[in-house]
Amino acid sequence: MISAASEKTAAAREPGSAALLFVRRVVKQFGRRPVLRGVSLDVAPGEFLTILGESGSGKTTLLRLVAGFEQLDGGEIWMAGERLDTVPSHRRPVNTVFQSYALFPHLSVFENVAYGLRAKKTAKQEIPERVSQALAMVKMGEFAQSAPARLSGGQQQRVALARALVNRPQVLLLDEPLSALDANLRRQMQVELKTLQREVGITFIFVTHDQEEAMALSDRVALLREGRLEQIAEPREIYGRPETAYAAQFIGQTNLLDAEVRDGIANAGAIVWSCFEHPGKAVFSLRPESIRLAPAGLAADSLDVSTARFRGRILNQTFGGAMDLLEIECKNSQRLRARIASPGPLSGELDFEFSPKDAIRVRAGEED
């Protein structure tokens, strides 16, 4: 279930602008295995939406349902006011960039890019110009007569992109297009993709399992887990205000604290902080970078509304360039991770502090 906040961001952001793509309670099974269990989301025109999830989360299946390569078992998909899921894939105004690029080996680069134009019976005079425009956009202009087999992975991917974009689809679907590239090339392509999307203004729906990639590229991120939508929000929000323990852990690193909230205080054993949430048991997410070294001279375990303090023993310190990763053990064997900027070598028992507002209450487990 999506919270009210997510429901709002799931709909169009700006008042008056209609969402372009509506996905409503989509269900899909493969044999007896359910893959999507009722996913709903809206995609705004011109937005870069990433569907993020582990393998098995259903993200690729959702993409393929929009493309038309699979049939829905339940729910509906609408685009621009018309029902989409009943239309066969070759008549949908969407185009796909495949993970394996799927370039036609028996056609040249030019013919690959021209394929969609020819299929739609575009005027013959128009084709060469549109193809060279598309190839120029992805910086592959000089390879027009090459055979796809002779191109490197990165080059093939650009051609696949051009082949999709030349058809001016309303929505471009990208199925983990960068996963086969090495790290440097991947980063470079991420930047190029983002820039391209802004230039062209087409809605991109991007599927990946790499949360850093999702954070870097997207206007919004939709996190899928086991066939359900866990949370959908802008990157900053999904990072800063994860709604569930899963979201908190999947995106970035975090510490999960089981605490009891009573009389304005959250008590997680070795760590306490002022908290005005509903009383009762709760799980909190505290990001490692929210923890700082406490200035010397203050009493340990002292408590005020704006700071929470605790004492812990350094188990491990890993140098990380700008920030070190510390593994801390507190008095009841509770372990935490902290990221601290250039602290120099540390050891023994030290005092740490954090702001209570950085402890985000999250839902845990299978509550639905």
Binding site: G68, F69, Q71, T86, P88, S89
Partner: protein, 281 residues
């Protein structure tokens, strides 16, 4: 990749497919049905059921002699083909020698050329060395012609072989021969058996080459052939049905063997993969 639009086409295609299957199986069904037909071959509809033709078959001495001949020829042909096909496959896989490309094509020729050419050529050879035509010449013919089947099958098996196993064996101190017997050969077991089955079946049915190399004793196909020249008898339907059943059984076994070896490979590969993953987690 199905959609509502595809359904119509699929229906036409499956109807067409059924027609093609019907064409392929019509003669076979007719054969089998009429082997039980009281009034023998021909006419429609079949008159009545009888096992007479089968019982007649049982007491047909010369026919069973030819069956025995065929079996002996087939077994020896399997031996020859495997005994030569195995080193041929190894040579093609691992050795470089002058004329290797020519050798590869030469070995494949009997498979591609019409059998009549291979049969005639061997005939001229045997005549040239004044060798009498007999089951021996037929066996030599089969063995030679079917080497390519063995070579192809075993070569494919060699491709799937993990070279590292042989390297490990050498590393541990075994010499080349020991490695061959204890590592290479066991890994080729499936290919050898599959090839053997295939060659056996092909030899049993072989006519084109045998036609020219035949001496006094007939193989089964040639025995049936000579009877066909004299006239049709329903007995032939009966023996044909039996041959059919036997061939089907053999080929199904061959097919299962192939499938199992491929699944075993996949199982082995996925086992390896999960072990590696487990190690990393």
């Amino acid at each position: 990749m199905k959609s509502a639009a595809n359904g119509g086409r699929a229906r036409w295609l499956s109807a067409y497919a059924i027609l093609v299957y019907a064409f392929l199986y019509l003669p076979i069904i007719v054969l089998v049905v009429y082997s039980f037909n009281r009034s023998g071959v021909g006419g429609f509809p079949p008159a009545g059921w009888t096992l007479d033709w089968y019982t007649q078959l049982l007491s047909d001495g010369p026919l069973w002699d030819s069956v025995l001949n065929s079996l002996i020829v087939a077994l020896i042909a399997v031996a020859i083909s495997l005994a030569l096909g195995l080193p041929a496959a190894l040579a093609l896989d691992r050795a470089d020698f002058p004329g290797k490309a020519a050798f590869r094509r030469l070995v494949l020729l009997p498979l591609i050329l019409p059998g009549i050419i291979t049969g005639l050529s061997l005939l001229t050879l045997f005549v040239g060395v004044h060798m009498k035509l007999s089951l021996v010449t037929i066996t030599l013919g089969h063995g030679t012609a079917l080497i390519s089947v063995a070579t192809t099958e075993i070569f494919a098996g060699l491709q799937k072989l993990d070279r590292a196993q042989e390297e490990a064996s050498l590393d541990l101190g075994a010499n080349q021969w020991r490695t061959f017997w204890r590592v290479t050969l066991p890994n080729l077991k499936v290919s050898l058996v599959a090839a053997g089955l295939l060659i056996f079946t092909l030899s049993l049915d072989e006519i084109a080459v045998s036609f020219f190399l035949i001496g006094r004793d007939n193989t089964l196909p040639l025995e049936i052939w000579s009877r066909l020249r004299r006239g049709i008898t329903p007995e032939i339907n009966a023996i044909s049905t039996l041959i059919l059943l036997f061939s089907i059984a053999t080929i199904l076994v061959w097919y299962r063997l192939r499938a199992r070896s491929e699944r075993a490979e996949e199982a082995g590969a996925s086992l390896l993969a999960s072990t590696l993953e487990g190690g990393q987690a």
